[in-house]
């Protein structure tokens, strides 16, 4: 069970990476409307997102349905951590508290 939970979390992590790539892409200027969508970053981002649908499906072979959205909430943690590392966005004390509450909830749900 723990293995499949981790697989689902990896899927959520990859989806978060995909989001960050999209975010870095949206900050750039493009020559045309088409290039705004058909550029390496956007294609990689959507490719990664497509991949996550397979990974989470694989995890659903074992984990219960109700656990999906619970583990999905780790996305807030990954996005905060990745934004901090890559985009240099700070994590406020209040946000950190919220992230810890999410982790506590996942633990309570899973034990």
């Amino acid at each position: 069970m723990l293995k499949y939970m981790l697989i689902y979390i990896v899927s959520v992590f990859i989806a978060s990476v995909s989001q960050i790539i999209l975010k870095t892409s949206s900050g750039k200027a493009y020559d045309s409307f088409i290039k705004e969508y058909l550029n390496p970053r956007v294609i990689i981002a959507y490719g990664l997102f497509f991949l996550t649908t397979f990974i989470s499906l694989y995890a659903y072979k074992v984990i219960p349905l109700s656990m999906g959205p619970i583990l999905e909430s780790t996305g807030y943690i990954w996005v905060a951590v990745l934004s901090f590392i890559i985009l240099g966005e700070k994590i406020s004390p209040r946000k950190l508290m919220g992230l810890l509450i999410i982790i506590a909830g996942i633990v309570v749900y899973s034990i």
Binding site: T53, S56, L57, Y58, A59, Y60, K61, P64, L65, S66, M67, G68, P69, I70, E72, S73, Y76, A80, S92, R94, K95, M97, G98, L99, L100, I101, I102, I103, A104, G105, I106, V107, V108, Y109, S110, I111
Partner: protein, 156 residues
């Protein structure tokens, strides 16, 4: 008086957007049901392809609706409301897969939802100073600002 009516219309529109968003969250969470159903069937069998297709279709529609609703609703509101999918997971799990709903699961889910709301509201505090309520003006507002000056002219 015009202003208060505008505000009423704006609130009404917001409520409609929120309702649409919640219908979408419900449908989106059914995507999980489709995903788990596909997971339970043989890889690349008809059933697998059908349900995986439903997963992709729901994600596609969801992305479009989400983008549209963000025009009228602050991002923070949208993300905070998204936490409801945790509750839908428990409900659909019980209905479709006979998963038990235990006190531990309900408490865990409630804690996760609380955490999500704290996280997204922390973002709200940060952005409030710079970008107001963080929403794009909608059609009603643009029309409203067009009409109001004319009214003032006739009054004068």
């Amino acid at each position: 008086m015009n202003k208060s009516r505008d505000k009423k219309n704006k609130n009404k529109r917001k409520m409609t957007d929120l309702l649409i968003l919640h219908i979408m969250f419900m449908v989106f969470s059914l995507g999980g049901v489709a995903s788990k159903t596909a997971a339970g069937s043989e890889f690349l069998s008809f059933k697998f392809i059908l349900f995986y297709g439903i997963v992709l279709f729901i994600l596609f529609v969801y992305a479009i609706v989400w983008q549209q609703m963000l025009k009228g609703l602050p991002l923070v509101t949208a993300y905070a409301n998204k936490a409801v999918t945790v509750a839908w997971g428990l409900i659909w799990g019980y209905i479709f897969f006979g998963e038990g709903i235990t006190a531990k699961k309900i408490i865990g889910a409630a804690i996760v939802i609380t955490g999500v709301i704290v996280v997204v509201s922390a973002d709200d505090d940060k952005s409030r100073d710079s970008s107001g309520d963080g929403k794009v003006p909608d059609a009603a507002e643009i029309i409203g600002s067009d009409v109001t000056p004319q009214k003032e002219e006739t009054d004068a």
